[in-house]
């Protein structure tokens, strides 16, 4: 499935799940697939644990993709990351060090119901697919549903809005499942990375307020080096900075929640492009987008391993 699976096309949810099942069987030394719960519509929420198996304590990095259904380049990157990790583990000293020293928890499709819906019905669907008996509109913005300044500025109380925060924090089973997992493992999760599209940005906390994080120095230098590394591949410029001032203020985001809950290094990527194709990034741009982003992620990981407390 490394050479037979096409990482340069977008895959349906079923294809991605089959890919995970296969990797779980064929790479037992580096991959373990497990479910952390079920989506609103009853689909399993799969996570890949990637890294050399070790009895000794290892820290971890969490990576999630596909929080917003229509951002298809995001799950494509998660698959690319796993592929690159497996392909280069033996040949690339950096990747070997990463997988030997850390575990990576990769959630290729966070919003499984929304992703499936964007494949079958509405290509531009964003939210989850939960229903409420009180309202005619479905879905909650899974990046406004976290318990951090929940439903304040930058989120909407209206169920029909795309930035709807939900009836209460962690109302979405997908959010609840990931939050539960991260709470349980927060002592050894060192970094949280979340992938979205589109804007070409690398963001760090805070989203919900204009303020500087206590460990700004290490986070900012990691981001600075990462965007430089990214640009070195094809010359693509990414802006970086706190989400509130670089993008806009939004409350209830996963990145802010992870940071508030003790994960010291949290980032959100907004991948290509800046509007020419928007959510319709052509498949021929999957490879360059993922290649440059891969370098940025490796850069961040190594910086955090070597330079940050």
């Amino acid at each position: 499935y490394l050479s037979g699976y096409n990482y340069e096309v977008y895959h349906s949810l079923e294809e991605i799940q089959n890919w995970m099942y296969h990797l779980n069987k064929t790479h037992p030394g580096l991959i373990h697939v497990f479910s952390i719960g079920k989506s609103y519509e009853g689909r399993p929420l799969y996570v890949l644990k990637l890294g050399r198996k070790s009895r000794t304590y290892k820290r971890a990095v969490w990576i999630d993709c596909g929080i917003h259904a229509r951002e298809w380049i995001s799950p494509a990157f998660c698959q690319w990351f796993v592929k690159e990790a497996l392909l280069t583990y033996k040949s690339d000293p950096t990747m070997r060090k990463m997988l030997n020293h850390l575990y990576f928890y990769i959630m290729p499709v966070f919003n499984v119901d929304g992703y499936h819906f964007s494949w079958t019905s509405d290509r531009f669907w964003r939210k989850t697919r939960s229903r409420s008996s009180r309202f005619r509109c479905r879905g909650v913005d899974a990046n406004r549903n976290w318990k951090v300044n929940w439903c304040d500025e930058g989120a909407s109380m209206h169920p029909c809005d795309d930035a709807y925060c939900g009836p209460f924090p962690e109302s979405e089973p997908e959010v609840k499942a990931v939050a539960t997992f991260l709470r349980k493992h927060r002592k050894h999760i060192r970094a949280y990375l979340s992938f979205h599209a589109y804007a070409q940005m690398l963001l760090y906390p805070y989203s919900y307020k204009y303020a500087t994080i206590p460990n700004f120095s290490c986070v900012e230098s990691a981001a600075y080096k990462a965007v430089n590394a990214l640009r070195s591949v094809y010359g693509v410029q990414y802006r970086y900075g706190p989400a509130s001032s670089t993008l806009y203020v939004s409350s209830g985001s996963s990145m802010d929640w992870a940071y508030k809950n003790g994960i010291p290094y949290t980032f959100a990527f907004e991948l290509r492009d800046t509007g020419h194709f928007g959510f319709l990034l052509p498949e021929m741009l999957i490879k360059p987008t993922c290649t440059e982003t891969m370098l940025a992620v490796k850069n961040i990981t190594m910086h955090l391993l070597k330079k940050c407390p």
């Binding site: 340069e8 509405d122 909407s156 939004s250 509007g275 194709f277 928007g278 319709l280 490879k287």
Partner: protein, 99 residues
């Protein structure tokens, strides 16, 4: 045809309101026309100087464009026909696949 051709004639338009008055006017019409905002994620973010990319269905695009012209709000059409772009980007696959 992908998605039963439902996006035929839909457009994606980029606007950057120059004043708060323009931003407020855009928010109002976005609500009225029930647009799909690509950027930012919420109508509440629409403000002076902020880039907004809006996906407007075919039956609303004439009304929006007429409004923009009357209000003298600068705009750029990013995607002229969303269905066409959807079909085209789906066919832009790497050479290896075609072989």
């Amino acid at each position: 045809q992908l998605y039963s051709n439902r996006y035929a004639g839909d457009k994606v338009i980029r606007l950057i309101p120059n004043t708060e008055e323009e931003a407020n006017a855009l928010k109002k019409i976005y609500h009225q026309l029930k647009v799909d905002l690509w950027q930012p994620s919420s109508i509440s973010y629409v403000s002076k100087g902020a880039v907004t990319d809006v996906h407007i269905p075919q039956n609303g695009s004439q009304a929006l464009l007429a409004f923009l012209q009357e209000a003298n709000i600068q705009y750029k059409i990013l995607i002229e026909d969303l269905q066409y772009t959807l079909e085209k980007t789906s066919s832009l696959r790497p050479q290896r696949n075609r072989r």
